[in-house]
Amino acid sequence: MAVRVKIPTPLRGLTGEVDTVQIECATLEEMVGQLEGAYPGMRERLCDESGALRRFVNVYINGEDVRFLDGLASALKAGDEVSIVPAVAGG
């Protein structure tokens, strides 16, 4: 059983409009690497030039903001749900 990654609609252009991706990984860092391998361009959307998570893109593991866990080092296990949530400003 893998980790389920929920892709928000602004990033689905990269995944061929797929909304949920299954990934085998043990950390968020690995997840980003595998996402980038499968969908080139994803890392740039999630991380800045220094490799840190962008400050206007939130990542949640089972609803908990990874900034309050261990950031990219946060551990993942089978069955976890990861949500990618970029800030949007439309009103």
Binding site: P10, F56, Y60, D65, P86, V88
Partner: protein, 371 residues
């Protein structure tokens, strides 16, 4: 001009217990004189010795206090409703009538008032509430309409734009004949048509660091319907610095987000510490937005406003609600106050409003963008 004058119960011993008196007069002064002519002594209750209306007597014309109009010179028209409302012990500092609702109001709001969570006390809380909506666009439209329908007494709107044809796919306040008109004017006309009892306060300028603290502190609850990051951070900071509850919502494509910020429970900076560099996150004008998602998120924002006014339920605090219209999934994420937040953290560095255009790296707002 025949107008109906509401007589408060303490004064009805003079009017043979009539709650409403129909009299003629072209303005408030003439109408009060006419009531006095029919029921001598009435004038002594509404005027002081200098023939001035004392501060503890409020007079309303169609639910607008006459000091906001032209005082006793306020012109009247056939069918107008005048209400004489004395301040009563225990509610003397209420700015709007805390006395019984009119029969029109009781009928209009009956589907709300029949619920125990609302009742007549809740409905009067609605009438006394002052809510500011930033933006009369996709989100601001459903919020403003539901607030007006529910009888929220004062609805302020910040908006400087004009109605563009491309707005009509989602912005419920504006209709085809409104294209080219100011959005504020269009909003006032729409809301008055929905409910003439609501006072719409127009703020006809972009919200900026110069005017935000003149506007936001005058309201109980702030609703964010802005369409850009600079205004979102500005509204967040001004609401926090004013100690106000902020009902936040945003949309793009088929996605929507909503949450409630209250001082001490986190803020927009705790959620998103920094804005994206210009161009990295597209706007609705660049990427598109499903019209109906504005209705979903706007209705959620209006619901959270009602819960705040009525003090019922569990507010959408410390939770970020995500709506994905394509999968039709509603999910909530935890939203924590960040102790390191520069605004609401332990050691704040943002203690007054800053230059948000610079903060967001965006050009200053000018009233030509039609989104």
């Amino acid at each position: 001009m025949t107008v109906s004058v509401y007589i408060p119960s303490p004064f009805r011993r003079l009017t043979q217990n009539h709650e409403y008196v129909d009299v003629d007069g072209v303005n408030v002064a003439e109408v009060l004189d006419a009531v006095n002519a029919r029921y001598p002594g009435f004038g002594n209750l509404v005027y002081d010795r200098e023939h001035v209306i004392p501060p503890h007597i409020n007079i309303y014309v169609n639910n607008h206090e006459i000091h906001e109009l032209a005082g006793t010179e306020t012109a009247l028209h056939d069918g107008d409703q005048v209400a004489v409302i004395p301040a009563v012990a225990g509610g003397a500092d209420e700015p709007t009538p805390s006395t019984a609702l009119t029969s029109d109001e009781a009928m209009r709001y009956s589907r709300h008032m029949i619920m125990g969570q609302v009742g007549s006390i809740g409905q009067r809380k609605m009438r006394n509430a002052k809510v500011l909506i930033v933006g009369a666009g996709g989100l601001g439209s459903p919020v403003a309409i539901y607030l007006a329908l529910a009888g929220v007494g004062t609805v302020g709107i910040v908006e400087f734009d004009t109605v563009d044809l491309s707005n009509l796919q989602r912005q419920l306040l504006h209709q085809t004949p409104d294209v080219g008109k100011s959005k504020l004017q269009s909003a006032i006309e729409t809301l008055n048509a929905y409910n003439p009892h609501v006072t719409v306060v127009p703020h006809n300028a972009p919200l900026t660091s110069d005017n935000a603290m003149d506007i936001i502190p005058n309201y109980d609850i702030i609703v964010n319907g802005a369409d850009n990051f600079a205004t979102r951070y500005l509204v967040n900071d001004a609401a926090y610095l004013s100690g106000k509850t902020l009902v936040d919502g945003s949309i793009l494509l088929f996605d929507g987000q909503a949450t409630v910020f209250k001082p001490g429970h986190g803020c927009y900076r705790c959620l998103y510490p920094a804005p994206p560099p210009p161009g990295l996150v597209p706007s609705c004008a660049e990427a598109g937005v499903l019209g109906a998602i504005t209705g979903i998120i706007g209705s959620i924002q209006a619901t959270e406003v009602f819960k705040q006014i009525l003090d019922i339920g569990e507010p959408l605090l410390n939770r970020l609600l995500l709506v994905d219209a394509l999968t039709m999934e509603f999910r909530t994420m935890k939203l924590r106050r960040d102790p390191g937040c520069p605004l609401c953290g332990e050691y704040p560095t943002v203690t007054e409003l800053i230059d948000y255009d610079q903060f967001c790296g965006s050009p200053p707002l000018v009233p030509i963008d039609a989104d």
